[in-house]
């Protein structure tokens, strides 16, 4: 069942680099990461690649296969034409460290800028009561394995490095949505307005909902439909809907 396939793997560092050519054996059931490991073990021992679990659970081996952001461990060779050259490059949106490894510190910086969960003061550990229907929306977002492929594919920063300052990317806008939908988050009582934060601090308005983040998500999280658009609507309640405050006067329950 084994066959030979041609690969071009980007090799280099922040100073520059190029696609290096390799021919490698491919066996049944293998994924691109297996081939990269084979190259390491046989042809290029210092080929740098980040990986951990090799089961699509840790989100470490993000790169681009034939120009498409992918997890290397979840890209099966059988989905690629054996006659075509497979081009493997590091993620485009982040600076390269070496070969397929990128500096993803942008994401950790943005993560720190999202105000953390605020526990309700009146509840002690063990007293939290939440209904399954109320936690499900946030649970979907917590499936995120932080592979940063959505950040990589998002054209707002992929095509415009200069937007990194003002835009936190789908991953962290989704984190804001997760907290805003958390049934017991007490941020509002502390004066933290997550909706305003999404718009003003994390650049929700930059998103033009072109859905590449959703398409690329290996966890199949509906980032756009379930996090970004609902957040845009929540911001619209506050910022763009003159009737919403009036409606609230009539009944607080409308939006609780």
């Amino acid at each position: 069942m084994a066959y030979q396939q041609h690969f071009r793997v980007w090799r280099g560092d922040a100073e520059g680099g190029e696609l290096a050519d390799f021919d490698a054996e491919v066996n049944e059931g293998e994924v691109v990461l297996d081939i990269i490991h084979r190259l390491q073990a046989t042809q290029a021992p210092d080929l740098a690649v980040r990986w951990n679990c090799k089961a699509g659970k840790c989100g470490s081996c993000s790169a681009e296969v034939n120009g498409r952001p992918r997890l290397l461990c979840m890209t099966r060779m059988s989905t690629l034409d054996p006659d075509e050259t497979v081009v493997v490059t590091p993620m485009k949106t982040f600076p390269v460290i070496r070969d397929l490894v990128c500096d993803v510190s942008y994401n950790y910086t943005k993560a720190r800028e999202v105000p953390a969960f605020v526990p309700p003061k009146e509840l002690q550990p063990g007293e939290y009561r939440m209904q399954q229907v109320d936690v499900e929306r946030s649970q979907e977002f917590r499936k995120c394995i932080e592979c940063f492929l959505c950040q990589d594919t998002c054209h707002v920063i992929r095509d415009h490095e200069e937007n990194k300052e003002s835009f936190s990317g789908p991953r962290y806008l989704m984190r804001v949505a997760e907290l805003d939908m958390h049934p017991l988050d007490a941020a509002a009582e502390q004066g933290v307005d997550r909706k305003a934060g999404a718009q003003d601090d994390h650049g929700l308005g930059m998103c033009n909902i072109t859905k590449c983040c959703t398409e690329v998500c290996p966890e199949h999280i509906k980032i756009t439909d379930n996090a970004l658009i609902p957040m845009k609507e929540r911001v619209a309640d506050r910022r763009f809907d003159p009737f919403f405050p009036i409606a609230k006067l009539f009944g607080r329950r409308w939006a609780s």
Binding site: K57, A116, I145
Partner: protein, 629 residues
């Protein structure tokens, strides 16, 4: 030598998995300046692979559950070899640790009343595992990661610096722990990204490096599991216990080859999945050991009724402790009743509707669909044993997680004793939380007790640096070994000779091979430079893998009985005399030395939790209390 980057901390935690992060949170909350050093990126720890849940006797589903029942289950699972004090602390404190996670923002699945839902798992008498679908480990890591971020935000608000008191050094590997006299003085590490060295000046080190699975060929463990903490502890003068006990998880994927070993969560069985052989038979009924006959059903009817009415029926034998199930699968395959790719069949497709499967086991559905092209809602999975967990680890004080070396602490998988000879599913995540936190408090009080800070010896730093660059060679080597080849040979050796079923002659052969591998590892030469060079990283990890492999093999050779995660073909029975013995590995002048130590005796009130008839199966007559009790 160029100036080496230096940082000073009160506490350095090695490892950013559940135990490391929980320890760091505790230390930081107790006012200690803390560093977390992680081989991987922050949030990628192997903990994310844990699927089933966190065992804690909250009693949300069955109110009869309490810490005593949990303690009992843990001791039974470990075949009474557990350090009883650790098992006690673990069972008592786990609920509090889980509830605490909710205050950090965790979102577990809920019961009707809005409490944390709990699921059944192998070896646990009641539904006990707090879970989020089948991605509980991810939830745990993300929650702790976000708690750390929130502590950093507090520091930012106060000092204008996120990292004032708590910093994560991601993609940084510790190669040596430095001492001043006998006590911890610091740690020597390199940045994976640049290859540059960094020295941490610290009076304390918490080892939270996880396990050793990468020494075996078929494993559910990631590349990080090279036994760094175990080896560092040995080299620092601490001792390892129970190293002969390696858990082979009964259900790993067996096909395709590239994913062989990847875990199939036990919740598949907890939620109703059954094991069948090639003849379609639910074979686990044939493998119920005598010690468990009172708790496990002997007919399919009773087993199936248990899912609906757990109080009046005995449990299905698919939920026996992991060692039993793994051995059973192994026997079926050896008897030629295996699946086409050398495993057995695990089936949920005919046990529940497709939408229930995709809801309860989303990541399993996903994993088989994407990696093996198998739809688990319509057909069975093929599964077989995979190296999953090491029960052995650093010998620590149960209450403080302190090792015998002043300033050196260990928590989580790298610590030994808690799980005895076999760990129950779900007890790992709770172990991380309970003993992670205890290590945090232990380390903080150790720092408080210091009158003077130990100092790093400059010579130690130089020799650590020299050892670290050694694999690059000087170009004069006659023999040049490839680190990848040595690793593969090591994995094959351990898998074949010290695997799930062990024999004296095979292990003696393994020791010989390990000797050869060690000399080959000395001649490993890596190409390229120090910037993110995986060949070099592996070369440095190799000696750790070799050290722990030697511990496992030597201890396994010495223990002439079968118990939990240690099965001897030549000594198939469990021997009560061996229950009293803990095998302790230390670094000697000529490799690892193994010594016998007496197991501490269980406190009377805990011993009374068990029926005498049960204790008789594990204890020698002399040890048992008077008949009147």
């Amino acid at each position: 030598m160029t100036e080496i980057e230096r940082h000073g901390y009160d506490v350095v935690v090695i490892g950013a998995g559940g135990a490391g992060l929980r320890a760091a949170i505790e230390a930081r909350e107790l006012g200690k300046r803390t560093a977390i050093i992680s081989k991987s990126l922050f949030g990628k720890a192997h903990t994310v692979m844990a699927e089933g849940g966190i065992a804690a006797s909250m009693g949300n589903i069955n109110s009869r559950d309490n810490w005593q029942v949990h303690f009992r289950d843990t001791m039974r699972g470990g075949k009474f070899l557990n350090n009883w004090r650790m098992a006690e602390l673990h069972a008592r404190e786990a609920p509090q640790r889980v509830w605490e996670l909710e205050t950090y923002g965790a979102l577990f699945d809920r019961t009707e009343e809005g409490k944390i839902s709990q699921r059944n798992f192998g070896g646990h008498e009641y539904p006990r595992l707090a879970h989020v679908g089948d991605r509980t480990g991810l939830e745990l890591i993300r929650t702790l990661q976000q708690k750390i971020v929130s502590l950093q935000q507090e520091d930012y608000a106060q000092y204008g610096d996120y990292e004032a008191n708590l910093k994560v050094y991601a993609e940084c590997t510790v190669t040596e722990i430095l001492r001043d006299g006998g006590a911890i003085a610091g740690a020597f590490a390199y940045w994976r990204e640049t290859g540059r060295f960094v020295v941490f000046e610290t009076p304390t080190v918490v080892l939270a490096t996880g396990g050793i699975g990468k020494s075996f060929k078929v494993t559910s463990n990631s590349w990080e599991y090279t036994g760094d903490g175990h080896a560092l502890a040995l080299r620092t003068g601490a001792s390892l216990i129970n190293m002969e006990f390696v858990q082979f998880h009964p259900t790993g994927m067996v096909w395709p080859p590239s994913v062989k070993g990847i875990l199939v969560t036990e919740s598949v069985r907890g939620d109703g999945g059954v094991l069948r052989n090639s003849e379609g038979k639910r074979f686990m009924f044939d493998y119920i050991p005598e010690v468990f006959t009172s708790q496990y059903a002997d007919s399919e009817d009773e087993a199936d009724r248990w899912y609906e009415d757990a109080d009046n029926n005995r449990r299905p034998p698919e939920l026996l402790p992991r060692d039993e199930v793994a051995r059973a699968i192994n026997s079926e395959v050896k008897a030629d009743r295996g699946s086409p790719h050398g495993g057995v069949f695990l089936d949920v497709s005919d046990r529940m509707p497709a939408e229930v499967i995709t809801k309860r086991l989303p990541s399993m559905y996903h994993q088989f669909m994407e990696l093996a092209d198998v739809d688990i809602t319509v057909g069975p999975m093929e599964v077989g044993p995979t190296c999953h967990y090491v029960m052995g680890g650093v010998q620590v004080d149960p209450d403080t997680a302190a090792s015998s070396v002043p300033g050196l602490f260990a928590a989580g998988e790298v610590a030994g004793g808690m799980h005895g000879s076999n760990r129950l599913g779900g007890n790992s995540l709770s172990d991380l939380l309970v003993f992670g936190r205890r290590a945090g408090t232990g380390v903080a009080s150790y720092v408080d007790s210091l009158t003077a800070r130990p100092a790093i010896n400059g010579h130690d730093v130089e020799s650590a640096a020299a050892a670290a660059v050694n694999p690059f060679g000087d170009g004069t080597e006659s023999a040049r070994e490839n680190p990848y080849t040595v690793q593969q040979d090591l994995q094959q050796t351990m898998n074949d000779l010290v695997g799930i079923i062990r024999k004296a002659d095979e292990m003696e052969l393994a020791l010989k091979k390990l000797d050869e591998l060690r000399s080959r590892a000395d001649t490993v030469v890596v190409e390229g430079h120090r910037q993110f060079n995986p060949g070099w990283h592996l070369a440095l990890d190799l000696r750790n893998m070799l050290a722990v492999s030697e511990c496992v093999t030597k201890a396994a050779l010495q223990r002439t009985e079968s118990r939990g995660g240690h099965t001897r073909d030549d000594f198939p029975a469990m021997d009560p005399h061996w229950r009293q013995v803990v095998l302790v590995c230390t670094a000697g002048s000529d490799g690892v030395e193994v010594a016998c130590e007496q197991q501490p005796a269980m406190r009377d009130d805990l011993l009374e939790l068990f029926e005498r008839t049960e204790l008789e199966k594990y204890y020698t007559d002399v040890e048992l209390p008077e008949e009147s009790l």
